[in-house]
Amino acid sequence: MEHPILFISVILNWIGLPVPHGPIGGTLLEKLTEPYLTYSWLIMAFLFVVPKLTLGKLELVPGTGQNFWEALIGGLMDFFIEHMGREKARMLFPVLATFFIYIVLANMIGLLPGFMSPTSSLNITVAMTLIVWLLHHILGFRYHGWKYYKHFTGPIAVMAPFMIILELIGNFARLVSLSMRLFGNILAKEILLGVLFMLVGAIFAPLPILCLGVLVSLIQAVVFVLLSVIYCVGAMEHAH
């Protein structure tokens, strides 16, 4: 496949650092200069610096920057309260809101030429999915103790040996589906953009796909966070 030009990799190359060409670098330095990692760090830096600049001193009458963050945080909080109730939403808000903002930005940055989406690498999405998956098991254990594992056996005692296999497969499938969905959507968008640009880039053929990409980026972020919310709520609620 044609290798796209990535600004950070070009700059790193120019400084003299090695930039790996495969999906996994050999040495530690090559692993650290992987494009998906460098772009992930770029997003993290952006998310540190921009709120610091816009929210440096809070004002009673908010300006444009503060207004944006207030609308975003307030909207997310309303969304979580609607699905989990106020206390649980307050407890889980830092994790899930961070995921949402990071995923939206990570998806959107791939629409700029010379940048790539970190979420189009399976490493990033599997890492995020593992966090969510472990989180919902930890929450379930904290709320119900050992009884949490009893709901894997289903309601009928006779059927328990069969139900536990089904439930375990269903639970591990969450790992695959949650990570593969985000990864596949974003990778498909990137490859589609690349192919269209190579074939008919001169007549702005990728333009409709760019508009679609904005929509897909938002929807996939919402879906990831919504599914995380539903897994966590399912683990925390009382067993029937």
């Binding site: 589906s177 969905r181 929807i219 919504l226 599914l227 539903i230």
Partner: protein, 87 residues
């Protein structure tokens, strides 16, 4: 790689995304149809219906995404690459 294996790899990649896309589109169409009916009958339930619909869409769509991932694996990261090139 001989021509027949190359053709088979390309054909199976196209088939995997084609068939899953076909089935997922049928399912999603039925879902949207029912959601539109529900909103038309009971406009107050729009919020709940929309959330449920998007969630269901995402779950159905993941099937199509699996097909897409398999197509990508066949084309760009084929596990039998060495055997195909050697044979």
């Amino acid at each position: 790689m001989d021509k027949i294996s190359l053709a088979l790899v390309c054909f199976s990649a196209a088939t995997s995304i084609g068939l899953t896309g076909f089935a997922a589109a049928l399912g999603m169409g039925r879902g949207v149809e029912s959601a539109c009916n529900g909103i038309a009958r009971n406009p107050e339930a729009k919020g709940a219906i929309t959330t449920t619909m998007i969630l269901g869409m995402a779950l159905i769509e993941s099937i199509a995404i699996y097909g897409l991932v398999i197509a990508f694996i066949l084309l760009f990261a084929n596990p039998y690459k060495a055997a195909l090139i050697g044979g």
